[in-house]
Amino acid sequence: MRWAGSGTARKGFTVATEHSTASRSGFLRLGFAGAGTLSLGAVLASGAPRAEAASPSPALDVQVLNYALLLEELQVAFYAAALDRGKLRGDLRDFARVVVEHEREHVGLLRGALGAKARKVPRFSFGAAVSNPRRFAATALELEDLGVAAYNGQAANLTRDALIAAARIVSVDARHAAWIRAIENRPPSPQATDPAKTRRKVLAEVDRTGFVR
């Protein structure tokens, strides 16, 4: 598995460098409460039994990444189709333009990592979901939230490198989700944590959209 480096130029936030008042930088440290504790033992040892779970491995990564690839290709196709139809305006159009490029890059990273093991992806057809702006917004919200739940549902199945990459992707998908929610005047996050969904559940929801041909 080959991972493209995180060389994408980052705009915006930059790491603070040393300041003129060197007195501030470096003297403050986050507190650390020392030794391991027994009180956490029960928590750490728990977690739903995963007796049948395959351990993370490069082979399992391939399955997860192909699953992710399907979802990202679905999103690329959705946003591309909506932009093609030309019915989006204002905030929604800005959103779609930016997001489609991100999703293309996600697809690129996943295909790069999978190489010859990349799956064939089905064709999609979106109907009114890409020609009606209100339907578009509702669908985008659904798909982005679903993508986050899908990645969160697979994090524990991934090897270290794949997890690092997946986190870099889901973070942006979560931004997309909050963005469309902000446009739609909805709260950015339905709860204090994002739920995980199994592959089965996610694909069943994709099936229900009727987009897959």
Partner: protein, 263 residues
């Protein structure tokens, strides 16, 4: 009727598409709907996520903030001014430390703050006015309030609007009365040895109006006593005295910064 066969995923490389043919009558053409989930094996190697190891409660908005007071420590001695401007007249200077050697603190009196957050309205020992934001440290909030009634000889602590403590007190004599008004607790003294003050003493921002030459500024404290027999009554030089058992209980409930209203 024809049933399509689901193609099992092989090593996750390819995915088959299962065809479900719905045939309600022999005359209608078969409808095909691809199903992604049908291709997922019954024993999905992509296991469900483990239950999270943290139990995260539902987000809760803050309770009503009416009972909340805000205070801040002084980072340095600072001039208190009549208006939020360095040109406004100076009303006095707040020292960085109290006579007890603790960090001096000021109570924030309102929402007021100028647009650039340079000035803050405060109340401190005898001074009410505006102070430079840079002279203050980090804000702390308390939801407690102590009411001292010098005629009923009681001290009552409220927390989040509810009474959580009440006790009889001794207050100042007619010649050296406890001042009335709005003050606050600014420090706590413990582990000293002075029976007259009991086990714990709280310093307040209140000053005696009569004992103006008193060393260390003539500040009024809230403390224990070695003469509980004198309570309740007008017995002190202005301090608010509680029985030792009561001051200990109060100390468990009343943080520094608690506003103190004396009537």
């Amino acid at each position: 009727m024809i049933r399509g066969a689901a193609l099992a995923a092989l090593g996750g490389v390819t995915i088959g598409v299962a065809l479900l043919l719905l045939d309600r009558s022999s005359d209608s053409p078969p409808v095909t709907r691809p199903s992604l989930v049908a291709a997922v094996p019954a024993d999905d190697p992509l296991a469900p996520a483990p239950a999270p190891g943290l139990s995260i409660p539902a987000p809760r908005l803050l309770a009503n903030g009416e009972a909340v007071s805000v205070w801040a420590p002084l980072r340095a001695s600072a001039v208190v001014r009549a208006a939020p401007s360095s040109n406004a007249s100076a009303l006095g200077t707040l020292p960085a430390r109290t006579p007890e050697g603790t960090t001096n603190i000021a109570l924030v009196t309102g929402n007021g703050v100028d647009r650039q957050a340079l000035w803050v309205p405060v109340r401190a020992a005898g001074l009410t006015g505006w102070i430079s934001r840079a002279a203050l440290g980090g804000y702390q909030t308390v939801d407690t309030l102590l009411e001292v009634d010098t005629r009923a000889f009681t001290a009552t602590l409220h927390r989040a609007g509810r009474v959580v403590f009440s006790a009889p007190v001794g207050v100042g004599t007619v010649d050296a009365p406890t001042p009335t008004g709005d003050f606050f607790v600014r420090n706590v003294l413990t582990r000293y040895s002075s029976a007259a003050y009991g086990p714990i003493a709280f310093g307040t921002s209140a000053r005696s109006e009569t004992l103006t030459d008193w060393p260390a500024g003539g500040f009024v404290g809230i403390h224990g006593t070695d003469r509980p027999d004198l309570l309740p009554g007008r017995v002190s030089h202005g301090c608010i005295r509680l029985r030792n058992i009561d001051i200990l209980a109060l100390a468990r409930l009343m943080p520094v910064g608690t506003p103190v209203t004396i009537t």
